[in-house]
């Protein structure tokens, strides 16, 4: 059941995650607005890119640390002969999604860089389309963060089940209770 839950979670998130930026045709007035503001937009993009870089680095370190912690518990669970595949499955999925997060960030970074180096006043339509792609790529990153967070919620459920197994094992092993 837990495997199925994980699968459903990933499928739902991947359908939500990939809104392909559709090209929007702008009229002359709109093109003019883009042309006038595009240099300022490029500067704003640079600032956003900088703060996102910090978020990527801090999140990357945090995810690595969480994976290490979960793997540690998983091996202890296995050593103590508890059967909880949800913990290992979730950790594996979390690790895979972290790989996806890194790829998504690289794609976002490349797109942002390309928008910043465009000669935007010469081709405002192309600039606006590319800007929409950047928004879409950033949105994907945000969704990936949400997905990884929900995977930890699934792991939480596994922890509750682990606690139940520990308690029932303790009861079975306590003196006076017949061993099975």
């Amino acid at each position: 059941v837990k495997k199925a839950e994980l699968l459903v979670l990933i499928i739902i998130s991947s359908t939500l995650v990939s809104p392909v930026a559709s090209a929007t045709s702008l009229d002359a007035n709109q093109l003019n607005v883009v042309r006038q503001n595009c240099t300022m937009i490029q500067k704003t993009l640079h600032q956003v890119q900088s703060s996102d870089k910090v978020a990527r680095i801090n999140r990357g370190r945090m995810y690595e640390s969480v994976i290490k912690l979960l793997t540690t518990l998983n091996s202890r669970v296995a050593l103590n002969n508890f059967s909880l595949p949800v913990l290992t499955d979730t950790t594996l999925t979390y690790e895979n999604e972290f790989g996806g997060f890194k790829k998504d960030y690289n794609a976002y970074e490349d797109l942002t860089q390309s928008v910043q180096t465009m000669k935007c006043s010469q081709s405002p339509q192309k600039f606006y389309d590319r800007l929409n792609q950047v928004r879409s790529a950033r949105n994907e990153l945000a969704n990936k963060v949400k997905l990884m967070n929900s995977l930890l919620n699934v792991y939480d459920e596994g922890l509750i089940m682990l606690e139940q197994q520990i308690v029932s094992k303790k009861i079975n092993q306590s003196p006076g209770v017949p061993q099975q």
């Binding site: 009229d27 607005v33 801090n58 945090m62 540690t72 202890r76």
Partner: protein
Amino acid sequence: MINIDKQQLVNLVNKHKFSSLIIGVVLLSVFITLFNMTLYIKSGASSLDLSRPDYEQLRTQTKDSVSDSEAKFSPTGKLTTLELDQFKKIYNDKRQEESKLGDFQDESLNDASLRLDIQTFSDISQ
């Protein structure tokens, strides 16, 4: 174009051994540098490298290292409710720390933030 056959090249190298060695070493180092730079860029490490001088301010915003509290929890040993509580404490602290990090969800790239918020624009981008 200079036309040199293999024998002539060997003779030339034999005649100027030291110079050939220097040229060889330089070519090798250029090749290795190009290879490393390709790896550096393709792996995405370049986009996360804050060692450049213009990123000095950003360096202060990154956490030098996430607390290595996971090291406090051993992968071996008995697993009782006491140990599980110890794990949960470390785990929940991490989750709390994680929730404070940037999550790419702010509205900094929408039309209004980028001053593209004329009515027609808003309608189109919905």
